[in-house]
């Protein structure tokens, strides 16, 4: 027998790891003090956290909640702590929070935006949690886009019904033409039919029906809209509509049809090359020059369209990235089974491309939601616009931090929720083993 020969006669049993590697002590050792450099970083970071919190926490919690003006706030601070420095005056929020949330929306109608928000969550549930909510609820999700404007703006019920009928007309034309001619002709026909309905016929329909059957609720005008409600309204519409438009643009950009391709490329590059604020100015000022005088093209609708187009261009690029990441084999697999282009896109390509793009899509959502604050520059009273208005009031002249902290908190809650949801979704859609 040579020296290198070795045979194990007994297998080794499993043993517990040494105590210094597990438990709280092990965690601290591994994560905070694993080397001298990390120890220094830990100590410096702890000090920085302490420094910030020791300033901010007293400001937040040793504060005044009840006062009618900034001066009264200061008097209370002097009486209680002997200084006005380092104490928040939340009284301004206490006094004006309804206005910050709803703008100049009539207060006896606050239930309508609140109901719209609650119903929004109901409509989103089957979309966001498709595995836990019955699929039948999607019917309500489909109705919601027509119900929401009715709740928000009020007026006759025939307006939203007429808008919905445009889709019905399009669907009807599609189902006839796609069977008799071809799928593409069907789709083009559907778009044409819907546009003709909305632009030409729908106003007659609405007028006729509301004179015959005047059903409706109290109307609220667009200039009464404002506050955080406006941010949510603009954000939800821009997010909800830009995703499908973005998908179409991304597919168009990959198309073999040269005209379609260059139209999509041109649109995407133009919109991405222009700051949102200029698009908003176009919406608020320039469009008036081009539209025939006397046309009443609602300012909020114009802003919605601009924000949607802006977000759609970014969305298209994010989704294109997802499409590019898919291996060719997926297209070939779908083709070899005889799936046609739209089936392959809908069942195989898009689900995967969208899944890959989730982080980018949600970033775009968050970005466009925060960008809704830009409408304050064209004179709409969103939260930022209202904050300026409140500061212009003599009672609250000179107050900054409290208002912006409150606005920041509102935005943070919404954006953080979106971000958490996207992480949940990514985890849920994880199908391979890691």
């Amino acid at each position: 027998m040579s020296d290198v020969s070795f045979v194990r006669t007994e297998m080794l049993p499993e043993q517990a790891p040494p105590a210094s590697e597990v438990g709280a002590l092990g965690w601290v050792k591994h994560n905070l003090f694993s080397s001298w450099f990390n120890t220094i970083l830990t100590v410096v970071s702890l000090y920085a956290i302490y420094y910030v919190l020791s300033g901010v926490l007293p400001w937040i919690f040793q504060s005044v909640w009840n006062a009618d003006s900034l001066n009264e706030c200061r008097e209370i601070m002097m009486a209680t702590w002997g200084s006005t420095h380092g104490h928040a005056c939340w009284a301004v929020i206490n006094d004006r929070w309804l206005q910050l949330l709803f703008g100049f929306y009539p207060s006896h109608l606050y239930w309508r935006p609140i109901l719209a928000l609650v119903l929004l969550l109901v409509a989103l549930a089957p979309v966001l949690y498709s595995d836990r909510v019955p699929t039948k609820m999607l019917i309500f999700s489909a109705i919601y886009p027509f119900l929401m404007p009715f709740l928000m703006w009020g007026g006759t019920i025939w307006g939203p019904i007429s808008a919905a009928l445009g889709f019905v007309a399009g669907w009807f034309v599609y189902s006839v033409l796609s069977k008799q001619v071809s799928e593409l002709v069907g789709m083009i026909g559907a778009v044409v039919a819907a546009v003709i309905w909305w632009l030409v016929l729908s106003s007659y329909f609405t007028g006729a029906m509301s004179s015959v059957l005047p059903i409706g609720i109290e109307a609220v005008e667009s200039r009464q809209f404002g506050g955080f409600m406006l941010a949510i309204l603009l954000g939800v519409v821009a997010i909800g509509v830009s995703l499908p438009i973005g998908i179409v643009l991304a597919l168009g950009r990959q198309s073999d049809l040269l005209i379609v391709k260059y139209l999509c490329v041109g649109f995407i590059e133009f919109i991405r090359g222009v700051p949102l604020i200029t698009l908003l100015f176009v919406a608020s000022l320039l469009l008036n020059l081009f539209l025939p005088p006397g046309t009443n093209f609602d300012i909020i609708l114009r802003v919605m369209i601009m924000m949607t187009l802006f977000s759609a261009a970014y969305m298209a690029e994010v989704i294109r990235g997802g499409l590019a990441a898919l291996p060719r084999g997926q297209y070939e697999g779908a083709d070899s089974l005889g799936l046609n282009y739209w089936q392959a896109q809908r069942l195989i390509i898009m689900p995967q491309a969208l899944k890959i793009s989730i982080p980018g899509i949600v970033s775009t959502f968050i970005g466009i939601f925060k960008d809704t604050t830009l409408v304050s520059i064209i004179g709409l009273f969103d939260v930022i616009g209202l904050a300026s208005a409140i500061r212009a009031d003599t009672a609250w002249n000179g107050i900054y931090w409290e208002l912006f902290a409150f606005i920041a908190l509102l935005f943070f809650i919404v954006c953080f929720s979106m971000s958490r949801y996207s992480m949940y979704l990514e985890r849920k859609l994880q199908t391979g083993h890691r």
């Binding site: 997926q330 070939e332 697999g333 083709d335 005889g338 799936l339 069942l347 689900p351 199908t431 391979g432």
Partner: protein
Amino acid sequence: MSELAIDREIDRSKMQVSDEVAIEITNMNKWYGSFHVLRDINLTVNQGERIVIAGPSGSGKSTLIRCLNALEEHQQGTIIVDGTELSNDLKNIDKIRSEVGMVFQHFNLFPHLTILENCTLAPIWVRKTPKKEAEERAMHFLEKVKIPDQALKYPGQLSGGQQQRVAIARSLCMMPRIMLFDEPTSALDPEMIKEVLDTMIELAEEGMTMLCVTHEMGFARQVANRVIFMDAGQIVEQNEPEEFFNNPKSERTKLFLSQILGH
């Protein structure tokens, strides 16, 4: 590569070549840009034939069988599959694709769908089979490839050999009359090659018309009724497997065989 032992008796009772023509290729040419990738291909395949296509890398084997279900377009000549000519008419292409199954080197399973969904997708959407019936048929074929217990897993959770067997089952669910295989075992570890070859042999035993691009010469010897050797975009030699391996005629074939069989 090369000679993997096939250690079971092959039941040849149903392996019968009929007179009915399954595929007919005449004077077919294809170019990639200015590169003449397939040159004057003439090939007739009868129902029930098991054909192995061999040849060096880049000789156009994949391109040839991908032309048969229009994953690639040919520019000259005619290809008639099961009586339908492959032309630019989309209806013909869809019809042929649903009758010709294809298995790829890299499986091309849909990773976001379960194994069962992978198998029922095309029957439901292309053939309009009711969901329940499609699922029953899928389970039948999954049992045949011996992985019914994995039906609710995702492709990413299976081994390569299992994935390739699912890919075969997925094609079979469309009830194809012809199966194309493009190097189905080339991406697999040796111990998994056998399970996939076994599945393919079973398919051959049931009389399926098969065109296989493969380097598994054991499979070619025992299962194929014809071996086609391609080089530089042309069919250089074709013969029955015994003759092809023992008595190759062309110099190129001899060189190729000596390289891959290692004599």
